[in-house]
């Protein structure tokens, strides 16, 4: 199966390494492997229809800062010239206009190519348009890596729970916020030092607004609402309150009631929301630290909770690899190896 890697930052490099590490499983399972026939970073590209060595790409990026020769055209204009099966889109999330990812999605889907992505922007803003385009051109769009990193919530809900009526999905969808709130609660740290600690440990960006104002969680809520609960919403439809302003007094008052404050993304029949909530201690969503957790309410199975690492080079690559496996299976039939 020929793949094009677009975006060669932390996630892109993790995926390249994982393809190298796990290709034997694809070969054993399907008698075919993943061939990287083109790769793009923000400025350069490299194309070889016979297949590129993923580790050479990572080495080039590490040593020279680029993976190939400088691009003169936009990636969306170059994609139609390449022969491939799957576009792996890993450019950074942009929730203003979803570009350049949205252009890459449109170029690939219009040409009938499947997509695997970690990019939330196009999905949080244009989910229905892209779904229709995929349907029209009989191709697939898989995006497990866009929500919850390594936590397999989308494929769990949309495939393994196919016969369930899902009435709600609630979750801790941002590890940075959960880290800050956990530190305030466990160490008695005021807001500012807890945020600084998250920044020093690399969990929060210098401008932490995207996380602490609930924008990242709202993107994930929009994606889950569309993909699993069949809603037609964008990130702008999500009612959003972040954790900016939560103080130590609030955390302590909650603790006196045996509760913790957590930023919860929620999709129910009545709406979509991100807001700080009071969670009883011991509830699956009272979890501390940087893990993402999703709590799914279903009619037959009852409550199902899944937790895992929400970000990281190999964690996100893990979700991309599972989607690539699913696409290979769709093309080749069931894997030989069980």
């Amino acid at each position: 199966m020929d793949v094009v890697l677009v975006g060669f930052g932390t996630v892109g490099q993790g995926v390249a390494e994982s393809i190298y590490l796990k290709n034997n499983l694809f070969q054993e399972g399907f008698g075919d492997d993943l061939r990287v026939v083109a790769a793009f970073d923000s400025k350069t590209y490299v194309i070889d229809k016979k297949g590129l060595d993923p580790i050479d790409l990572v080495k080039a990026k590490t040593n020279k800062g680029v993976i190939g020769q400088r691009r003169k055209e936009d990636i969306k204009d170059m994609l139609p010239e390449i022969e491939y099966d799957v576009l792996v889109e890993m450019t950074p999330t942009n929730i203003v206009d979803a570009r350049p990812g949205l252009d890459h999605f449109r170029a690939a889907l219009s040409a009938g190519k499947d997509i695997v992505t970690s990019n939330k922007g196009p999905l949080a803003l244009k989910f229905r348009e892209l779904s229709r385009l995929a349907q029209k051109n009989r191709c697939m769009m898989r995006f497990e890596a866009s929500v919850g990193g390594a936590t397999p919530v989308i494929n769990l809900a949309s495939e393994l729970l196919k016969c369930e009526r899902i009435s709600s999905i609630r979750g801790i969808m941002n590890g940075t916020c959960n880290f800050i709130l956990s530190r305030m609660e466990s160490e008695g740290l005021p807001w500012e030092p807890a945020l600084r600690e998250a920044q020093q440990m690399g969990f929060a960006e210098t401008d932490p607004s995207y996380d602490i104002d609930g924008i990242d969680s709202a993107c994930k809520v929009a994606i889950l609402a569309n993909a699993i609960m069949n809603k037609d919403v964008t990130v702008h439809d999500v009612e959003r309150t972040g954790i900016r302003g939560i103080n130590l007094d609030a955390v302590n008052l909650a603790a006196q009631e045996k509760k913790v404050v957590r930023l919860i993304g929620e999709i129910t029949e009545k709406g979509v929301e991100v807001a700080p909530r009071l969670i009883p201690r011991g509830h699956p969503l009272s979890i501390s630290g940087t893990l993402n957790t999703f709590h799914i309410q279903t009619d037959l199975a009852g409550e199902i909770t899944v937790a895992g690492r929400g970000a990281g080079r190999y964690e996100t690559a893990s979700a991309v690899m599972s989607d690539l496996w699913a696409l290979m299976r769709a093309r080749k039939g069931s894997a030989h190896r069980h």
Partner: protein, 164 residues
């Protein structure tokens, strides 16, 4: 509606099943039965029964069938299921604002209780906890809407409970 009753039955086999029959026959839902074997008085035994019925007419029918069966009804209590309201407020937690909030929630009706507790803090950062019990789940939705509007007007942040 949920009802709790104290009954006195003849201390002979089959009486308990006979006493429960009018409830199940009238589509009532039996929630709990406490049978006091050790408290026999004048040949009668005490039973405390909690059940749910759809309306008062059905309840009257059950009482009438009990009387026909010779079951003594000693005490009747109507019980209400309650739902918890809970908000932590961060920002303006002045007594005047808290009174506006508690008055506003009381005005929604079906409120059993409402309390305010302030944080103890040496800093300027303050918070307050508003907690209460309401009789209808619908009241929680109304209270959430009221709190959202108040937070926009007064500029405070709300951390809402998880019971809705």
């Amino acid at each position: 509606m949920r009802v709790n009753v104290d009954l006195r039955l003849k201390d002979v086999p089959g009486q308990l099943i006979g006493a429960l029959e009018p409830v199940s026959k009238n589509d009532g839902n039996i929630v709990g039965v406490v049978h006091s074997h050790d408290q026999v008085s004048a040949g009668r035994i005490g039973v405390n029964l909690t059940f749910e019925v759809s309306n008062e007419k059905t309840l009257d029918k059950i009482f009438s069938e009990w009387r026909e069966k010779g079951v003594d009804i000693l005490k009747i209590d109507q019980l209400f299921e309650t739902f918890t309201l809970e908000y932590v407020i961060v920002g303006d937690v002045s007594p005047a604002e808290m009174k506006r909030i508690t008055d506003g929630i009381q005005a929604l009706g079906d409120v059993e209780s409402i309390d305010v507790r302030y944080s103890i803090s040496s800093s300027n950062e303050r918070a307050a906890l508003i907690s209460g019990k309401v009789r209808k789940k619908e009241t929680i939705k109304l209270a959430n809407r009221f709190m959202r509007e108040r937070s926009k007007k007064a500029g405070f942040l709300i951390v809402r409970g998880f019971g809705d």
